[in-house]
Structures are given as C-alpha cells and as structure tokens.
C-alpha cells in the first residue's frame, strides 16, 4: 500500500469500528443476558408454524441474518417437498 493510501485507510477504520459496535451492542443489549433476541424467536416460531403443515427436513432449512441499524434482514429458506402436487393436497385433506 502506498503512503497516501495507508493514511487514508487508517483515518477511516475507526468510524467503521464505531458503527459496527453500535449496531451489535444495540442488538445484544435488547436481547439481554442469555436470552435469544427477537429475530431468533421469530425464526423459531416461523419454523414451528411451517412444521405444523409440512414435514420440514432440518437439514434443508437455511437461515440467514443480517442485523442492521435501521432494519434487519431475516431470510429463511425452507425446502418444502412437493407442495401443491396431488400428493400433498391429499395429505392436506387427510389432516383436515
């Protein structure tokens, strides 16, 4: 890295650190000691609802999270087997 680039980079890393910490600590404080935070709870309950209707293979569930300052993004990918096919409609009827 050149001298100038070095200077530039140095001046800019502390504000990045501050922003990252503010976001993280806001989430950690609201979650409280030892408790799962809102997003974790949402995630768990959403999966419970899905599991009530279809057999969810835990290995086929991917959860992604991006905590932000204004808003956070919770992404839940569930592979639902044969939804809408004749088979699953039959299953629905049986359940009802």
């Amino acid at each position: 890295m050149s001298f100038l680039a070095n200077l530039f980079a140095k001046r800019n890393s502390a504000p990045v650190a501050r922003d990252r910490l503010q976001i993280l600590l806001a989430h950690e404080r609201s979650a409280g000691e030892g408790h799962s935070d809102l997003l974790a709870k949402l995630h768990q309950e959403i999966l419970e609802v899905i599991a009530r209707h279809v057999a969810v293979d835990q290995d086929k569930v991917q959860v992604k999270l991006d905590r932000g300052s204004g808003c956070s993004l919770l992404e839940i990918d569930v592979e639902v087997p044969q939804l809408g096919s004749a088979k699953s409609r039959d299953a629905d009827k049986r359940d009802a």
Partner: protein, 271 residues
C-alpha cells in the same frame, strides 16, 4: 484427512483470536476448506474480528444442545468462499459446553472441512481444555515477554498430558507463533530474543508476527489481516505460517513494512 488445530496460549490478550482469524483465512485463501471455531464461551469475539457479528443466528452451544443443526450455525465468509465460522455463545453458563457435545461437533466438522481451527479462551480451565482436547496440531501464541513465555510453557505441558492424543500415547504436533514482536526493541535488547524464547520452550517456530497497526485496522473493519491488507508485514507472517502448516519448509524471518535498510537489517533468518 482433516486436521484439528488449536490456537492457545494460557495468558490472555496475546493474540490468539487475531491469529486464529489470520491463519484460518490464509489457509482458506490458499484453497483449503477451513472453519474457525470460537471456544471462548461467554466472551465471543472471533465473530467480530471476522466481521460476521451481524450474521450470527446460532452458535456452538445451540448445536451442542440440539437447538440447531451444525449447518445452520456455520456462517460462510463473504470474501473467501472456503472459509466458515462457528461462533461461540454469549451465555454465562460455564457448563454449556459438554465434553460429549464438543466431541460430536468436532467429528462432524472433520467430515466437512480440511482444517478445523479452534480459538481457545485464555486460562487453563475447562474452556481451554475443551478447546485443545481434540487437536492434532497446536499453535502456541506467545509474546516476547516473561509471563507470556511462562504461561506458554504451562500450556505446552497440558498439550502433552491432557489432550486426547496425549492420552492415547501419541504426540501432538506443536508450533510457536511469536507475536507482537518489535524488531527495534529487540535490536536494542529490550525484549526477549527469539532465540531465547525458542530455547526455553523448545518447540518449532511457525512464524514471527511483528507488532503492527495493521492488526488494529483489520479488527476495526472486521477482516482477518490477511484479507484486509495481504501485503502488510503481519499478513505476510501469517501467510508463511499457513504454508509451513501445510508442510512447506521456509526460513523464518520477521516481515517488515518498509523496504530497504530496515528489510536488510531485520530480515535475518532465525530458524
């Protein structure tokens, strides 16, 4: 065959987490499949140093207690495809990690990755013992300073007696990373010399990482130093260390930032 590597030190704050992130990333940058595992339950920080803190959903304790699948707790690095992190939990419960639970997770990680790199908590208590128990390879992180060297000696003793390998009568592969090394102070005779530390601890040297502001900058932006500034002196030290871990024979030198006179002065081979 997968290798489990523990980064340990006894003494706190010597650079274990920094080294875990940098070595893990360096191995992954060379194409190896790597996971870095945070064993510092209650005080997790590896996620922050790796820049993954906003993406933590589940952690090691969730996996051990059966609340999540391993695949759900692993976070894939956004910069290096072959690098993942398994965060520690923030719980205060000291018994959250069970020996059987850790064993099961280690087994599963061995199947998925080439390298499983465990960031040990400081101390010689249960957490540190669990972190080292399954290791094939140990990287002992030491600062050139008396109390750090003494604690490293304790840890080396534990590696040779309390690990799974030791109990089976096998030798665990041990390496030394000397970090926060200040070439100028060493030249003035104000710091323990590399030769002295090596003679006292008598384990092979994996690398000398200089004291560098690049390390602070890297942790500010949430990237291992080998990613944030691959050309920097500490990054080059970690890249070389990663190559040595893979069996390459390289002379150990202290990488320096400046080219020219400094380079010539300090690029003295010590191994």
């Amino acid at each position: 065959m997968a290798k489990v590597l523990v980064v340990t030190s006894g003494k706190g704050g010597v650079g274990k987490t920094t080294s875990t992130a940098a070595l893990g990333a360096a191995l992954a940058q060379s194409g190896q499949n790597v996971v870095v595992v945070d064993f510092d339950v209650g005080l997790r920080n590896l996620d922050l140093v790796m820049g993954a803190e906003r993406r933590v959903v589940f952690d090691l304790v969730n996996v051990i207690q059966g609340d999540a699948k391993l695949s759900q707790a692993l976070i894939r690095d956004k910069r290096v495809e072959t690098l993942s992190i398994l965060p520690a939990s923030q719980t205060r419960d000291k018994d959250a990690l069970t020996a059987e639970g850790v064993a099961a997770v280690m087994e599963e990680l061995r199947e998925k990755f080439d390298w499983v790199i465990c960031d040990s908590p400081a101390g010689i208590e249960r957490g540190a013992q669990l972190a080292m128990y399954h290791a094939d390879v140990a990287v002992v992180v030491t600062n050139p300073e008396v109390s750090s060297v003494r604690d490293s000696d304790r840890i080396i003793g534990m590696l040779d007696s309390t690990t799974e390998k030791a109990k089976k009568g096998e030798k665990i592969d041990k390496h030394l990373i000397l970090t926060r090394y200040d070439p100028a102070r060493a030249a003035r005779g104000e710091m323990l010399r590399t030769e002295d530390v090596l003679e006292i601890l008598s384990i092979p040297l994996l690398g000398i990482v200089p004291e560098s502001e690049e390390v602070l900058r890297a942790s500010n932006v949430g990237a291992p130093v080998t990613i944030s500034n691959p050309q920097s002196a500490p990054a080059r030290a970690y890249f070389d260390a990663a190559r040595r871990l893979q069996g390459e024979k390289l002379d150990v030198s202290v990488p320096t930032e400046k080219k020219g006179l400094f380079d010539w002065l300090f690029k003295r081979s010590v191994a």
